[in-house]
Symmetry: D2
């Protein structure tokens, strides 16, 4: 269950209404406004509202009176310049608001980004839905042997099935007991229901929660640069990828600049840059005389596309 | 000079364009969108963009799928409840962006509020306009004798005129020299122009600057509660009052709740509350047996409307 | 288990070392530095570090060159003044760092305060301890009938015991399976261990986590004012009370001002203040002609100590 | 005049007092605590307080109970790892507080960094000192012809002298009139003094102000990375350089990692990285077939140390 028929009806109804506005409108984002974009097994992301588009960044950078230049090439050039030189404040002038359904353990990573506004569904006030995240078999992986905080190879299908069955059984049982403790509508008339704020502690960390989450474009890109990273946990990366696509629809010039100057490039350390300079001079640099650790050397060679490193 | 003909034309042009949007629209704010609302002698405030309205607060508080209840009375009740109980996060779900023209000494107070996004017109990059704030005679006041950081009685008209003349002469002269230093277009071909980032240091603090300033509704209300206070300097209060009126147009329920539960009420200290309780019991409390300082007592009596205090 | 012998030894060792410093020192806080102050059944709070004391607030308010006035009465008066008039920035000049062990569902409330720095124990990287929060019987309460987000009367001892037993059994079973999934040290050599970042999702929300949490004094007081409130959930209030006592030790003048001007007083709405004024004029105001809702009236009467309201 | 004899006496007195503390102590920083480090002609920076050192970063990253490992090499390795992988939260666990005297136009750039706590000397409350920044002749430069927001070649000594004389004369005259407006101690008994909050608007932007400024180490490094950049204005860079040296004294491992992984390295864009890879394959890449703009190409060649680019 991702959405109930009532929820779908509410969304459909919201999408049918349009009103005239003097504000800038992002046609790419309007197309998907309010629609539930699926993530993981029961999660989703919906764009609820937004403010500004690429032209608003240009307008703010120029502190201008009107809509700014109409030449697309100038706008694009300025946005590239701002991204390249870390002039971040104009990107803060765009804002977006999402409605996200996500497992609690993902929510706990996500909330560490403090430069956003959040309204979470309250389990003190309301009753949680019976929905848990269970990884698809191809994402059930062993602890990485080389990286303390990562996963390694996928488990065999029998082992994966055993893991999923166990996760499901525990989540179901804990939720059954959660409902038993709540004793809603005096299902068992011989006893009182436990306070919601207490009963919730029996839920497992893969239970889905939901929230409204609002952030400016600069901080969203920072969030994405961290959460799209291959080292980020798959379950949060899945959300980041869907959000990246909303950025593409919303502010296409900024999206291009982000890929070109942030995600697609690489940062070299002082020692790494020295290695590159020596190699470009024709020197045959080895790890031993590079000053780099094994790990740094391996990563540098990957960056430079030199598997023979 | 508040706006040049070109700037007016840009604003008029922006106001003529409307587009359909699925987002919630605040009709009250759309009416004045982009228009220059005058403040002080040359300053202004323009609403450039906004996100959300009263219904967005309700929607976020409920983490709902649709536009939320359609009953106005329920929305208003919930907004009052949220304001009364300091549930501030739903108010963070609305956002507004202003274009402000303001004297530098006002900008320096204003920027102390850190929970906003700012793009200021750059005097490193561009040349400032020849515009200074000169107080109207009725605002030219003496240093307060009782309040170290406030003004007292208005000066007589002759003295006020002398003050204004002196301020004008210094600002004009400094600006003349600023232009001389810049030597734009090689006005004086015998010498080079000074770097803008240096020349600007010759300007006086009443020179007008401008910025784009974006903030969420919760933090805007906090800003206003501080800057609408009678102890705030008049020159920044003048901006706060115009902004308060944009809040009234934008989110009328929130505006009412703000006046009722924040601005219109009063905070009593523990000792002040004890005094009120004793008075309500019929006791004739005096300052001496109240435990309050002279200043606290005077302020409490004013709050309670007891001039005889 | 709150602390292992090794942890106790580390703490004892840390407490034994002192070094000379030119910085201001809070003797009250030094006494308890590093010591584990117990909270709930397995939780704790430790003060790890701090910066500044009452005199640092005075010094910052005056932007002074030395240690500021040596007259205690002047310092105390200035701190009262700053607190009363919401001059919050000098209080931001003091900083404190805690090490906190707390149930995950409490951590999720706590983290909503974004103006702090946090380093949480990572369940991606490390293995969690087998420790769960189980409420003491006197805190096992029914859902409140009047307040959607609160608890009502305590359950009878049999029912409470049944609740606790069920919470314990589920937490233990989920933790058993968590360990089974991890398969540390190839306990079961026939299969691989699941990645830690996945296995953790099987834990219940009452599992204890821990973090380093650092905040400035102004934001700490704001946190405490919200979390000491009777409407806050008991389990987080228990932490707030221990932290309030560390504030008393650290900055005693600020502590007094906080109780006098924030916690001990009351905020009246515009309509509430109008009622008080009429009552002080001798009028017999009733709820009906007060303009207040039932709830607002009841709360006002409680504030004014008029049970007969 | 940088400091009055009274200020020097206060500083000397503060430096003489030491007290025992259980907190970690940075001996490198204690040496210079409270001392006025000169910047520009009349400015200065003083370290007023600090919390934590390199070991506190390690301790927070491990959420440990004691002082953490005593092996210096392990600590250094972990700090390098954290810096390299942008694990920024442990660096937020250290805090530093400065007292800074700086020209107002520098303060206006500086305050744009919002993640700090600030208490500025109030010109509403107090009277400013007669101190202005006047650039040394070697820093009086022309507007850059290539960079809109930078300075180019130094002016000839005659022109520089003329600039400085003009700046001095305007600053002095404006300050004379400021004092005349204030009319302190009824110097002119025939008229009232203007309110301080108004009189200050007559000051020029090179007037010195001062503030207490407190920030965590992560945000300080971010501030420094922007303000140490060659594109930053010289006058703020002068402060950043003195602060960088306080970082070296305070947290030497972090300082090394900062230089190695942030300041000393380089960020390559996606297209820039592609060029490097092709060059390493032995291809003779030209700007035309690189996909880079002239400016990007020039900057890349500089980064790679290939003047012949």
């Amino acid at each position: 269950m991702r959405l109930t028929p009532e929820q779908n009806a509410e969304i459909t109804h919201s999408r049918e209404v349009t009103s005239p506005t003097r504000r800038v409108v992002s046609s790419g984002l309007e197309e998907i406004l309010f629609a539930a974009l699926p993530v993981l097994d029961h999660g989703m992301i919906r764009v609820i509202d937004y403010m500004g588009d690429d032209s608003a960044i240009v307008q703010a950078a120029r502190v201008s009176y009107g809509r700014g230049t109409r030449k697309v090439s100038e706008d694009k050039g300025l946005i590239n310049y701002l991204m390249r030189h870390r002039h971040t404040t104009p990107f803060e002038m765009c804002e977006i608001k999402y409605h996200v359904k996500l497992p609690i353990f993902v929510a706990r990573q996500w909330i560490r980004h403090r430069t956003a506004n959040v309204n979470e569904y309250s389990a003190r006030y309301s009753i949680m839905d019976r929905e848990f995240y269970l990884p698809a078999p191809e994402y059930v992986a062993a602890q990485s042997a080389t990286n303390h905080q990562g996963r390694g190879a996928t488990l065999g299908s029998d082992q994966a099935k055993a893991v999923i069955d166990l996760l499901r059984a525990d989540a179901e049982r804990c939720f059954d007991h959660y409902e038993e403790l709540l004793n809603e509508d005096a299902r068992d008339p011989t006893r009182e229901g436990l306070a919601r704020e207490l009963a919730r502690m029996n839920l497992t960390l893969n239970t889905y929660t939901q929230w409204y989450w609002k952030i400016d474009l600069h901080n969203l890109l920072h969030f994405l640069s961290l959460r799209l990273d291959p080292h980020a946990q798959y379950e949060i990366r899945a959300y980041a990828e869907v959000m990246l696509d909303t950025v593409r629809r919303w502010v296409p010039h900024t999206y291009d600049a982000f890929l070109e100057y942030r995600m697609g490039g690489a940062h070299l350390s002082a020692a790494g840059l020295a290695v590159v300079r020596r190699m470009l001079e024709g020197e045959a640099v080895t790890r031993e005389d590079s000053g780099l650790s094994h790990r740094e050397w391996r990563e540098l060679m990957e960056t430079l596309g030199r598997a023979d490193g």
